[in-house]
């Protein structure tokens, strides 16, 4: 091996200078009486700065790039050999910024996957490969007073799949009714940072699936609905039957530009509602959504439209 590039670091701040050296081995048989080295940054030649002979007889040629302005630079060391240039070595230099602190961290407890799903915004591009890790304490500990102070030695790392800005913490790592501190760490070659800590109780951010809504056909036993009225029935999402909820109904004529009319709150014990004030011979779209209540929770999405 005739020549080898030495880099102080393979990653530098974008805009900073970089000094590198090319070490020419004394046993390189291709050397002429005077060794000439040409540096290239990408395809452009870059004047070398100085040369010195080292104790072991090898020669060190140094170059300084005053300002790295591109996130990825190929630095090559060539030997002038007769009328040609021979590439001895090539090094890839990455330039970027330390990671920005992730922000807008939010979480939802999903009872379908039985996991706490958290998402965040990564912040401006650092131009460097950056690893994001969602972090939270492993266990609730007696005496921790249920606040969000975390013991550093019991931290669970949730590593998102490549390039994703969300991660799911499985049920077995959760205490659904206790405060938990949660944050996101961002790390690249130039540094580590973390988001502000979120302090939450998983069940208090539970998001239910929408209820099932249907219209009850008139039945002989019951009194027929009033003119302009509809008898509706709904059923909360089955896996959430143990959760007290409130729901709300919205309806709008299918044709025309009328906005949604909202009806609520409808408590989850009632399951039936007579909707009145409807226009005759008019097709309506109806939707319903529910949330955990009176305990905190997130509204479900609206149910698929029931068209009547």
């Amino acid at each position: 091996e005739c020549g080898r590039i030495n880099l102080p670091t393979p990653t530098v701040h974008l805009g900073d200078p970089l000094t590198a050296s090319c070490i020419i081995s004394p046993n390189c048989s291709h050397l002429g009486p005077e060794t000439q080295i040409v540096w290239k940054v990408g395809r452009e030649s870059q004047p070398g700065k100085r040369q010195q002979r080292l104790e072991d007889g090898s020669q060190e040629f140094t170059v300084t790039i005053p300002r790295l302005s591109s996130p990825r630079v190929l630095l090559s060391c060539y030997l002038r050999w007769g009328h040609s240039l021979q590439m001895l070595d090539q090094a890839e230099v990455q330039a970027g910024y330390p990671p920005a602190a992730p922000h807008n961290l939010s979480c939802l407890m999903n009872l379908t996957t039985n996991s706490l799903i958290c998402q965040w915004e990564p912040g401006p591009n650092s131009h460097l490969p950056t690893n994001f890790t969602l972090k939270t304490p492993f266990f609730w500990v007696p005496g921790s007073r249920g606040n969000c102070q975390t013991q550093e030695d019991s931290i669970l790392d949730c590593v998102p799949s490549d390039g994703q800005n969300h991660c799911s913490i499985p049920r077995r790592h959760l205490q659904l009714y206790q405060n938990m501190g949660i944050w996101v760490q961002a790390e690249n070659a130039l540094g580590t940072t973390k988001s502000p800590q979120l302090c939450l109780v998983p069940m208090d951010v539970v998001k239910l699936e929408p209820p099932t809504l249907w219209a009850l056909p008139p039945s002989p036993e019951a009194a027929p609905p009033q003119p302009g009225c509809l008898l509706l029935r709904w059923e909360p999402w089955k896996p959430s039957l143990y959760i007290e909820q409130k729901c709300e109904l919205r309806h709008q004529p299918r044709l025309g530009e009328a906005s949604w009319d909202l009806v609520g709150p409808l408590l989850s014990q009632t399951l039936q509602y007579e909707l009145c004030g409807l226009l005759p011979s008019t097709a309506y779209a109806l939707q319903m959504r529910c949330t955990r209540w009176p305990l905190p929770g997130q509204w479900s999405d609206w149910s698929p439209s029931l068209t009547l």
């Binding site: 609730w140 007696p142 009714y177 143990y242 959760i243 009176p294």
Partner: protein
């Protein structure tokens, strides 16, 4: 309701309904897959295995006493946490249901303990699990599962009535 926050009681009632639903799921699966549908047919086996039933005397209507009821509720849940853990390896079909039941029971015990701490009535030293029954065969684990689930349901029924009483505004 005295010193207990309404939100705590509402959470307890919610957790109870969840644990009861988990327990029902375990019982239904044991009945469907192994024809183990009647805990009353397993009473002798229960005695032989030494499956304990925790007291809830302070939660009974005759001697309703809030702090005592909380302590007994926590101790009972803690015991059931251990019993459910002892049933590990019950069977591949039942394992997910058993895991969910055990996680939810543990969460419920923690919620009670946290509240006892907040009220300054938690013992200085957290409880430690006593000796658990040794389920030495697949059948014993399944039969033990029926008994533990059935006992847990009765335990929660009584506790539910007590907490509903405390939850009345």
């Amino acid at each position: 309701t005295g010193p207990l926050p309404q939100s705590f009681l509402l959470k307890c009632l919610e957790q109870m309904r969840k644990v009861q639903a988990d327990g029902t799921a375990l019982q239904e699966t044991l009945c469907a897959t192994h024809q183990l549908c009647h805990p009353e047919e397993l009473v002798l086996l229960g005695h032989a295995l030494g499956i304990p039933q925790p007291p809830l005397s302070s939660c009974s209507s005759q001697a309703l006493q809030l702090m005592g009821c909380l302590r007994q509720l926590h101790s009972g849940l803690f015991l059931y946490q251990g019993l459910l853990q002892a049933l590990a390896g019950i069977s591949p079909e039942l394992a997910p249901t058993l895991d969910t039941l055990q996680l939810d029971t543990t969460d419920f015990a923690i919620n009670i303990w946290q509240q006892m701490e907040d009220l300054g009535m938690a013992p200085a030293v957290p409880p430690t699990q006593g000796t658990m029954p040794a389920f030495t065969s697949a059948f014993q684990r399944r039969a033990g599962g029926v008994l533990v689930a059935s006992n847990l349901q009765s335990f929660l029924e009584l506790a539910y009535r007590a907490l509903r009483h405390f939850a009345k505004p």
